[in-house]
């Protein structure tokens, strides 16, 4: 078996890299793939919290590279989802505790008996970022429809494009708020895609359910009713090669809007006939 190594990165912090990693990882595992999540945010680890595994971590990635344990010992298996395991970051060290070569080696080893290795990248473009992308051949760039997040994503895309090892990189637009887009207060999905000139892999709506799912340590993909969960499940399907349409996030219109839509459609039909 030769698994795919996908890095999840963004440039800017707080746009949802870790949430995305946890959810896509869980969704891929639920679909029957063997998945390892690697947290490379050494010193600021959080992926364990989002997965609800914080109490079960014995060894970290630093213990692996400093040979205090074997790689297999450091992988924490998710009890609810045995296909999913986590290689946690150390909380007491910094990004220099691991080198690019070491991460590359870990990815190579994990590739042998897993379908997907998802690398959760730290914010920034320094050593932590360089480490995280070292072993990856694919990338998902997470951004939100905000100025600074888009600008940073553009920098990241530039860096990824210059790297031969990264074969594909796609855009995941997170925290989309359809009500703000409808009032022209937020850039639309099309605007962001046009600005960044990057293929989309997912559109995730802003969802307050994310907060409670983080608090519970249970990724939102496990909630069948959540729209964000549905969007993340669709991303996982697209990663697996399925063609899934993007969710329609447009706000339900009021009666007048619906009537207008109806007439506009009719007028278009009439015009087409003429």
């Amino acid at each position: 078996m030769s698994g795919r190594v996908i890095v999840i990165t963004s440039g800017k912090g707080g746009v949802g890299k870790t949430t995305t990693s946890a959810n896509i990882g869980t969704a891929l595992a639920k679909a029957g793939n063997k998945v390892v999540l690697i947290d490379t945010d050494i010193g600021l680890r959080n992926l364990d919290l989002l997965l609800g595994l914080e109490n079960r971590i014995v060894y970290t990635i630093v213990d692996v590279v400093e040979e205090r344990c074997k790689l297999k010992q450091a992988l924490v298996k998710d009890k609810k989802n045995p296909n999913l395991s986590l290689l946690a970051a150390a909380q007491t060290r910094d990004k220099s505790a691991v080198t690019e070569e070491q991460l590359k080696d870990i990815c190579e080893t994990l590739k042998k008996d897993n379908d997907f290795i998802l690398v959760d990248c730290p914010a920034g473009i320094e050593q932590g970022f360089q480490n995280a992308i070292a072993g990856a051949s694919e990338a998902i760039v997470v951004t939100t429809p905000e100025m600074s997040a888009i600008r940073d994503a553009d920098r990241i895309i530039g860096l990824l494009a210059a790297r031969e090892e990264i074969v594909t990189y796609k855009l995941l637009l997170n925290r989309v708020r359809p009500n703000l887009i409808a009032t022209n207060d937020m850039m639309s999905v099309e605007d962001v895609v046009e600005l960044l000139a990057c293929e989309l892999i997912g559109i995730i709506p802003e969802d307050t359910g994310i907060i409670s799912s983080t608090n519970k340590g249970d990724p939102i993909v496990n909630d069948d009713k959540s729209l964000a969960g549905q969007a993340y499940r669709n991303v996982a399907k697209r990663i697996m090669g399925e063609e899934v349409e993007f969710l329609n996030l447009e706000e339900d219109k009021n009666i007048l809007g619906k009537i207008k839509d109806f007439f506009e459609k009719k007028i278009k039909e009439i015009k087409a006939k003429i």
Binding site: I150, R151, D154, D191, L195
Partner: protein, 195 residues
């Protein structure tokens, strides 16, 4: 048909809340980002872009008479490639004689520039300070001139007394040529005499 659609639009625009174009935050964000991303990608600052625009005007106006105020220099994105788009409103093409004249002038100016450069080297040896001032002045003028044709007329007068006529002469060629021909010759005479 058109009566029907007009009526329909009127009715709905009556019910629709009035949209203020200035409050369209989305478009503001998009255009701001567009510019900033182009600058990030190309490493070209607005100052350098303005300089590039000025130099292009100087070059092109040797061959055609163009509307400098309407000349647009933009970066446009097509896929993952960035293209430099130059839109030049041409008033009229110059005839052979004019082009020849412009080229001659250009050669003359370059000759003066060379002579000046040589002198500069001598001047550096004599006094570095005065030379520095000259350079600063000339760089400022080129930017002013390319940005605004009115400005260049003003600076021109002040330049006449100074040693560096190269920038003003440059702009004259691109500006109202016939009127400025005489002035320029005077300029050059002054220059050579002062040199």
């Amino acid at each position: 048909m058109s009566f029907f659609t007009d009526f329909y639009n009127k009715v709905f625009s009556f019910f629709k809340p009035q949209e203020n174009p200035e409050s369209n935050v989305k478009d503001v964000a998009r255009s701001r980002l567009k510019l900033v991303l182009m600058q990030d990608r190309t490493n070209l600052t607005p100052k350098i872009l303005e300089q590039m625009r000025g130099e292009l005007i100087d070059l092109l106006s040797k061959y055609v008479e163009l509307d400098k105020d309407l000349l647009e220099l933009n970066f446009e994105q097509e896929g993952d490639q960035v293209a430099l788009m130059l839109s030049i409103p041409v008033i009229r093409a110059k005839d052979e004689k004019e082009i020849e004249e412009a080229l001659k002038k250009d050669a003359l100016i370059k000759g003066i520039q060379l002579a000046e450069d040589e002198e500069d080297i001598e001047e550096i040896e004599e006094s570095a300070e005065t030379n520095n001032n000259d350079n600063e002045n000339s760089s400022e003028e080129t930017i002013d001139n390319s940005a605004n044709t009115e400005l260049c007329n003003e600076t021109e007068e002040s330049v006449e007394t100074e040693n560096n006529s190269e920038s003003s002469a440059d702009n004259d060629t691109s500006n109202e040529e016939h009127e400025n021909n005489n002035e320029k010759e005077e300029n050059q005479e002054q220059n050579t005499s002062s040199n």
